[in-house]
C-alpha cells in the first residue's frame, strides 16, 4: 500500500520548472530513494511534501489524505518528519533539548499546564525525557545529551538531526543526503542505521543520496530525477543498467566502480 | 562671656539649624537631563546667578544641590523622595513641569519645605481646595489662565482679528494656554479655525501649517517652547496663505534662541509675557552679563528670570524670619518661612512686581505683549 503518493506535482521558480509533473508512490515500510544530478529537484520535492513550498500543480496524498499546501507543522502532526541537506539543528540548545522539541507534537502541556505543572504534566515531561535519552542511545549519542548542538562534530550532528526527526514518531521519514560528509566506514554505519529504522521501528523511508553504495545497498525502489523530470524508476539493478541514468547521473566510471563496491565484503 | 540662651524652636513644623561654617541649603528639582533639559538647566542657571549675586546669606554660604525631575511624574516622585529625606534643605526651587509637581509636592510639603516653582503653570496647583494644592507651594510663573486670556484680548481688541488657529506641543503648559486662549477668544466673538498639536521634537511643521492655512485664519497662537516655536515662526512665512497672518507665542518663547532659530522670519512675531517694563533695564545690564559670564552662553530657555526671582524671594524671606544667634548659628523656622513667603508683597523681581496670593501665585498679573520689530533680542513692548 502506498503511504505517500504524488500526482503530477509541478513546482516553478520564476521561469525555472524545478519539478514537472512528478508522479511518485512510496510503499509503506519500504526504503525508497530519489537520486538525480545536482539541481534535479530532489530537495524541492521534499520541500513540497513537507509544506515548505506549495506546488503550483498536482497533489500530494499521505495515507490517502491530501496534504498539498498544508503548513509544515500540520504535515508533521500527520506523521512526516525530515532532515536537511545542510544540517539545521537548534544550535544553541542542547542535544536533549533538540530532541524534546521534536516531541512537541505529542506532548500536551500548554501555557497554563506549564505554569501550574499538575501531575500529568510532570509525568509527561519525565517520560519525554526518558524517551529522549532512549533516542540518544539509539543514535549512539549517549553522554552527549547536554552538549550544545553547535559543539557536536559533524557526524554526530547528522545523527542528532535524525534523532530529532524520529522524536515526532513519524510514519514517513525523509532523509536528505544523510551521509554527506561521511567516510565510507561511517557511511556503512549509516546504512545499517537506516535499515534498523525501518526494520525495528517500522518507519517508511524516503531518501535522497548521492553515494551509490548507500542507494544501491538499501533501496527497494529508486526514482531518478533530472531537470525536474522523472527519467527512470526501478530496482537498484535496473537503475544501474539504465543507459539514460548512466548518462545523466552515474557516469561510466562510477557505474563500473559500483560493481566493485558490491563485491566488497561490506555489502550484504 | 555670658552663654547665649539656646534657641528654642517653637515652630509647628520645625526649624532648620545652620551651624557656623555650614551653608544654608537650597535645593532644586528641575528637569536637567533628557530632551526637556534646556528648560530646567536654564532655570538652574538663573538660581546660580542669584546665588552668585547674593554672595552670603546671613553670613553663611548658600549651597545648591538638586535633582533631575525628568519633566515627568515618576521623575517628580524620585526627586521628591530623595530631597525630602534631607532635613537640611530649607527651600526647593522647582519643579519645571506641573506633572512632576503634582507628585513631588505632597512629599515636599510633608517635609516642611518652601517650594517655589519658576515654570509650573497648571491652574490646579494653586487652586484653593484642589487636591493638588499643597501648603508651602508657590510659583513665580504665570497661571495659564491669566496669560491665555490676555493673549485673546490682545488679538481681538488690538489686532482686530476674527479668526484664529492654535497649536500646542503636547505639554501641559501649551495645551492649557491654548485652551484658555481659544475659550476666551470664542467668548469675545472670534472663530477658532483649528486647534492643532505638534511634536516638540519634530522639525517639519510646514504640513501642519499648510493644513492650518486651509482654514485661512488671521492669527496663529502657539504658546510653545523655543525649539519648535522658532521653526514654526520661520516655516509659517514659507507657507502660501500664511505670509500675512499674525503670529503669536507666549513666555515659553521669550528667549534669544528664537531669533537665532527663526532668522528674519521673527520680525513681526508677538510674544506675551509678564510686564518687564520696570525691570528690563536691570535684566539687561546686570543679569544677562552675569549669566553669560557664568555659563558662557545666553540664556538657553525662558524661565531663568523666574527662577532668579524665586531664589531672591526665598533669600529675602529667610532674612526676614531667621533667628541669628551671636555665634553665627542660624535657625530658620519653617512655618514662619512659609508665612513670610505667602506674605510677599511688591517684591521687585526681574519678572515684575511680585505679590503672592494665599495659595501661592506670585507672578505679576500684568501681562504685556512684545513684538520683534527687528531680529534683535529682546522684543519691544507694545501692549498695553
Amino acid at each position: 500500500m502506498a503511504i505517500l503518493v504524488s500526482k503530477k506535482v509541478t513546482k516553478r521558480f520564476g521561469g525555472l520548472e524545478a519539478l514537472s509533473k512528478i508522479d511518485l508512490e512510496v510503499r509503506e515500510q519500504s526504503i525508497h530513494s530519489i537520486i538525480g544530478p545536482n539541481g534535479a529537484g530532489k530537495t524541492t520535492f521534499f520541500n513540497c511534501v513537507t509544506g515548505f513550498y506549495t506546488p503550483e500543480e498536482g497533489e500530494i496524498l499521505f495515507n490517502g489524505r491530501n496534504i498539498t499546501g498544508l503548513s509544515p507543522d500540520r504535515v508533521t502532526h500527520l506523521g512526516i518528519s525530515r532532515t536537511y541537506q545542510n544540517i539545521r539543528l537548534f544550535k544553541n540548545m542542547t542535544a536533549v533539548e533538540n530532541i524534546l522539541v521534536g516531541m512537541h507534537p505529542h506532548l500536551k502541556a500548554g501555557l497554563i499546564g506549564s505554569v501550574i505543572r499538575p501531575s500529568w504534566v510532570v509525568k509527561e515531561e519525565r517520560e519525554a525525557l526518558e524517551e529522549a535519552k532512549h533516542l540518544l542511545r539509539f543514535v549512539g549519542l549517549q553522554g552527549r545529551g547536554d552538549m550544545l548542538a553547535k559543539n557536536l562534530p559533524y557526524g554526530e550532528q547528522r545523527r542528532l538531526e535524525i534523532a530529532r526527526a524520529l522524536a515526532s514518531r513519524p510514519k514517513l521519514l525523509l532523509l536528505d543526503e544523510p551521509t554527506a560528509g561521511m567516510n565510507p566506514s561511517e557511511t556503512q554505519d549509516m546504512i545499517n542505521f537506516i535499515r534498523r529504522l525501518r526494520d525495528e521501528l517500522g518507519i517508511t523511508i524516503l531518501l535522497i543520496e548521492h553515494q551509490m553504495r548507500v542507494v544501491m545497498n538499501i533501496s527497494e525502489l529508486i526514482t531518478v530525477l533530472d531537470f525536474g523530470q522523472k527519467i527512470a524508476e526501478g530496482t537498484p539493478l535496473e537503475i544501474q543498467r539504465n543507459e539514460r541514468v548512466i548518462e545523466a547521473y552515474l557516469g561510466r566510471g562510477a557505474a563500473s566502480g559500483l560493481g566493485q563496491v558490491h563485491a566488497s565484503p561490506a555489502a550484504r | 562671656g555670658p552663654r547665649p540662651e539656646p534657641y528654642q524652636c517653637t515652630d509647628p513644623i520645625g526649624c532648620v539649624k545652620v551651624a557656623p561654617g555650614e551653608p544654608i541649603h537650597i535645593a532644586y528639582a528641575l528637569v536637567v537631563a533628557g530632551p526637556d533639559e534646556t528648560l530646567g538647566i536654564d532655570s538652574r542657571n538663573g538660581i546660580e546667578v542669584a546665588i552668585a549675586m547674593k554672595g552670603k546669606l546671613l553670613g553663611h554660604d548658600i549651597k545648591l544641590t538638586g535633582e533631575d525631575e525628568g519633566c515627568s511624574a515618576e521623575g517628580g516622585q524620585a526627586a521628591g523622595t530623595k530631597l525630602s529625606a534631607d532635613p537640611t534643605i530649607v527651600a526647593v526651587i522647582g519643579t519645571s513641569c506641573s506633572s512632576a509637581a503634582r507628585v513631588a509636592m505632597p512629599l515636599f510639603s510633608q517635609a516642611g519645605f518652601v517650594v517655589v516653582s519658576p515654570s509650573n503653570t497648571a491652574p490646579d496647583l494653586t487652586e484653593p481646595g484642589n487636591p493638588n494644592n499643597h501648603p508651602g507651594y508657590l510659583r513665580t510663573s504665570h497661571n495659564d489662565k491669566v496669560q491665555g486670556a490676555a493673549a485673546a484680548k490682545f488679538a481681538w481688541e488690538t489686532l482686530g482679528v476674527k479668526k484664529a488657529a492654535t497649536i500646542h506641543d503636547g505639554s501641559l503648559y501649551a495645551q492649557k494656554l491654548q485652551e484658555v486662549f481659544a475659550e476666551e477668544f470664542k467668548k469675545l466673538g472670534g472663530t477658532i479655525t483649528s486647534q492643532e498639536a505638534v511634536d516638540p521634537n519634530a522639525t517639519d511643521f510646514k504640513s501642519v501649517l499648510t493644513s492650518i492655512a486651509a482654514g485661512s485664519p488671521d492669527f496663529i497662537y502657539y504658546p510653545i517652547f523655543v525649539k519648535a516655536g522658532s521653526l514654526i515662526t520661520r516655516q509659517a512665512k514659507e507657507v502660501p496663505g500664511l505670509e500675512k497672518v499674525y503670529l503669536m507665542g507666549a513666555d515659553g518663547m521669550f528667549s534669544p534662541d528664537v531669533p537665532e532659530g527663526a532668522g528674519d522670519a521673527v520680525v513681526g512675531l508677538f510674544l506675551s509675557s509678564p510686564d518687564l517694563a520696570a525691570f528690563a533695564a536691570e535684566y539687561n545690564s546686570v543679569f544677562l552679563p552675569k549669566y553669560k559670564e557664568l555659563f558662557g552662553t545666553d540664556p538657553i530657555s525662558i524661565f531663568h528670570a523666574h527662577a532668579y526671582d524665586a531664589a531672591m524671594m526665598i533669600f529675602a524671606a529667610i532674612e526676614k524670619v531667621a533667628v541669628v544667634q551671636p555665634d553665627g548659628t542660624v535657625y530658620i523656622p519653617r512655618q514662619a518661612l512659609r508665612d513670610a513667603m505667602y506674605a510677599t508683597k511688591n517684591f521687585k523681581g526681574l519678572t515684575g512686581n511680585l505679590s503672592c496670593t494665599p495659595t501661592g501665585d506670585c507672578a505679576d498679573p500684568k501681562i504685556a505683549v512684545y513684538e520683534f520689530k527687528t531680529t534683535s533680542y529682546p522684543p519691544e513692548r507694545i501692549w498695553p
Binding site: 521558480f13 537520486i35 538525480g36 544530478p37 545536482n38 539541481g39 534535479a40 530537495t43 541537506q85 545542510n86 559543539n151 562534530p153 559533524y154 557526524g155 554526530e156 543526503e177 554527506a180 560528509g181 561521511m182 567516510n183 565510507p184 566506514s185 561511517e186 557511511t187 556503512q188 548521492h210 551509490m212 553504495r213 545523466a248 547521473y249 552515474l250 557516469g251 566510471g253 562510477a254 566488497s264 565484503p265 561490506a266 | -
Partner: protein, 237 residues
C-alpha cells in the same frame, strides 16, 4: 624546502583542544590528502593554515615564512586559497559576482577573463546560470561554484575541504579530474576528503588524522593498502 609546512600546531575552540600537535608538510606540485573520521580535526587544520584560526602553539610556514603575523586575507595574497567546507558561497550575490570575488586579489583583467573561461569550461552549468542569485542554486551547483571561486584566485596552493560532498557521481569524477588537472598546471593541493578511495587515487601522499592527532602518514599507495585504513576509512572489513 616544502612549500607548506605545518609544524606541531595546537588549536582550540574555547576549551576544546581540537588539534593536538599536527605536523604536515606539502611539497611544491604535490597533491596531499588528509583523511580522518568526523570530528578528527581536518577542517580545523585547514582553517589554521588559512589563518582563520591562530594556533596556540606551533607554526605554519609558507616557503619557510612564518604565517603567524598575517591575517587570513593577507595569506590569500600570498597564494593560499581555500574551498571551504559546506560551500559557503555568497548566496545573495550572483554566480558571476561570486566568481569575481574569487579573483579579488587579482588585478589583471585579461588573466581574470582567461580563468573565467577555464572555470566555465570546467563547469558549463555555472555558465548557464551566470546571472542567477547563487543562493537559489542546488547543492551541487553551489559546490561547483565554490571550487570555481577558489580557482579564480589562481592560488599557488589550494586547500580543499571535502570538494566532492553532495555531488552526483558523474560530477565527483569530473571534480577529481579537475583537481588533477589543476595540479598538473602547477597548483599544489592539500585535499581533505571523505571519499578516501578517490582521494588516494589522485594524491601523492596522505595523512590520517584521529582526534586531533596524526596517526599515519605515507604515500597514497601504501595507505590504500594499510589494513587499519582499509577498515576504518575505506569501509572494508
Amino acid at each position: 624546502m616544502p612549500i607548506l609546512e605545518v609544524d606541531n600546531i595546537h588549536s582550540y575552540y574555547g576549551h576544546i583542544h581540537a588539534l593536538k600537535g599536527i605536523s604536515i608538510s606539502v611539497k611544491k606540485g604535490e597533491i596531499v590528502t588528509l583523511i580522518g573520521a568526523n570530528g578528527a580535526g581536518k577542517t580545523t587544520t585547514l582553517r589554521t593554515i588559512s589563518g582563520l584560526m591562530k594556533p596556540r602553539h606551533g607554526h605554519v610556514r609558507l616557503e619557510g615564512e612564518d604565517l603567524a603575523p598575517y591575517k587570513p586575507h593577507e595569506i590569500v595574497y600570498k597564494g593560499v586559497a581555500m574551498v571551504p567546507e559546506g560551500r559557503r558561497i555568497f548566496t545573495r550575490l550572483t554566480v558571476m559576482e561570486n566568481l569575481e570575488m574569487g579573483a579579488y586579489t587579482r588585478t589583471s583583467k585579461p588573466e581574470i577573463e582567461q580563468d573565467l573561461d577555464r572555470v566555465f569550461a570546467l563547469f558549463p552549468r555555472l555558465k548557464e546560470r551566470r546571472r542567477q542569485i547563487a543562493g537559489t542554486l542546488s547543492g551541487g551547483e553551489q559546490q561547483m561554484l565554490a571550487i570555481g571561486r577558489a580557482l579564480m584566485a589562481r592560488p599557488r596552493i589550494l586547500l580543499m575541504d571535502e570538494p566532492s560532498m553532495g555531488l552526483a557521481p558523474v560530477l565527483v569524477e569530473a571534480i577529481f579530474d579537475t583537481i588533477q588537472q589543476i595540479n598538473k598546471e602547477g597548483t599544489t593541493i592539500l585535499l581533505v576528503e571523505q571519499n578516501a578511495l578517490m582521494a588516494f587515487s589522485i594524491a601523492h601522499r596522505g595523512y590520517v588524522l584521529q582526534t586531533g592527532e596524526i596517526v599515519l602518514q605515507d604515500n597514497a599507495e601504501n595507505l590504500k593498502k594499510n589494513p587499519m585504513v582499509q577498515k576504518a576509512y575505506l569501509g572494508m572489513e
